[in-house]
């Protein structure tokens, strides 16, 4: 970087807030962590749904009271919705700018959080009754 004598700012002052890696790697690492976790979880989830979708109301509830299907479903929901929120975040950042970006990012996080809570609550409610 060239030093400009007329510029009173320090080299640090000039580069600050131009973009940082303070939390950027955390987000990328979380995308990768959830993606690796979702490979076996998705296979398990598909097997579970193949069983559940041919069952009636009482049949579905009976399966979800068992620990392994319930925990598999909870893990899939948690990893899946975190992954989904991060994925949509990168789509928003790519295509939306200005004030709309901040609103879109907030809406994305709120939607994902509510969806995750609804799915986890419903699963736990079936599991514990």
């Amino acid at each position: 970087m060239v030093d400009h004598p007329s510029d009173l700012r320090t080299p640090l002052g000039r580069v600050r807030f131009l973009g940082s890696a303070r939390v950027g790697t955390t987000e990328a690492r979380l995308v990768h962590l959830t993606s690796v976790a979702l490979v076996p979880l998705t296979i398990g989830f598909v097997c579970l749904m193949l069983d559940l979708l041919r069952k009636d109301y009482n049949g579905v509830r009976a399966v979800l009271t068992r620990p392994i299907p319930a925990i598999l479903l909870l893990a899939f929901i948690l990893a899946g919705i975190v992954h989904m929120e991060l994925g949509m975040r990168s789509i928003i950042v790519d295509y939306i700018g200005g004030h709309a970006r901040a609103w879109a990012l907030a809406a994305n996080t709120c939607f994902a959080a509510l969806l995750a809570l609804a799915c986890l609550y419903a699963t736990l409610r079936v599991a514990f009754t």
């Binding site: 041919r54 109301y57 789509i91």
Partner: protein, 136 residues
């Protein structure tokens, strides 16, 4: 060029990724777009899972509304598309994990992996739906 970034005054526009209007289409580009589209489809498709779970946690009449929908033509079509999006994104995701590890980036293999994503996504969808109809 590098020093102009550090000059005071109005900030230069952020660099943008050169995409559709810059490069002619390639298979890896098509699968990159398909990965994003299938991911966005799953963003909507997860509502189906939420509906299923909420209906199962409520009474049997709520569950019957879900069952009627998923058994209908429209419901099955939606589920089929979501199944494809899930498998396409899964296979594409594995491809990205392999690439991120530094393997399969050379010329013939990266295109073969992109084709494998497309074929694998459809193949797994048809495979799982066949099982679904067989065990019904």
């Amino acid at each position: 060029m590098a020093s102009s970034d550090a000059l005071p005054g109005p900030r230069r526009p952020r660099p943008m990724s050169p995409h559709l209007s810059i490069y002619r289409p390639t298979m890896t580009m098509a699968m990159s777009i398909a990965h994003r589209i299938s991911g966005a489809a799953l963003y909507v498709g997860v509502l189906l899972l939420a509906w299923f779970l909420i209906a199962a946690s409520a009474d049997s009449s709520s569950f019957a509304v879900f069952s009627d929908f998923i058994g209908s033509f429209i419901g099955r079509l939606v589920l089929f598309v979501v199944t494809w999006a899930l498998f396409h994104h899964l296979v594409g995701g594995i491809r990205h994990i392999v690439w991120d590890a530094g393997y399969g980036l050379d010329a013939p293999l990266r295109d073969q992996m992109a084709w494998a994503t497309l074929i694998g996504g459809f193949a797994l969808t048809i495979f799982v739906w066949s099982i679904g109809f067989a065990v019904r």
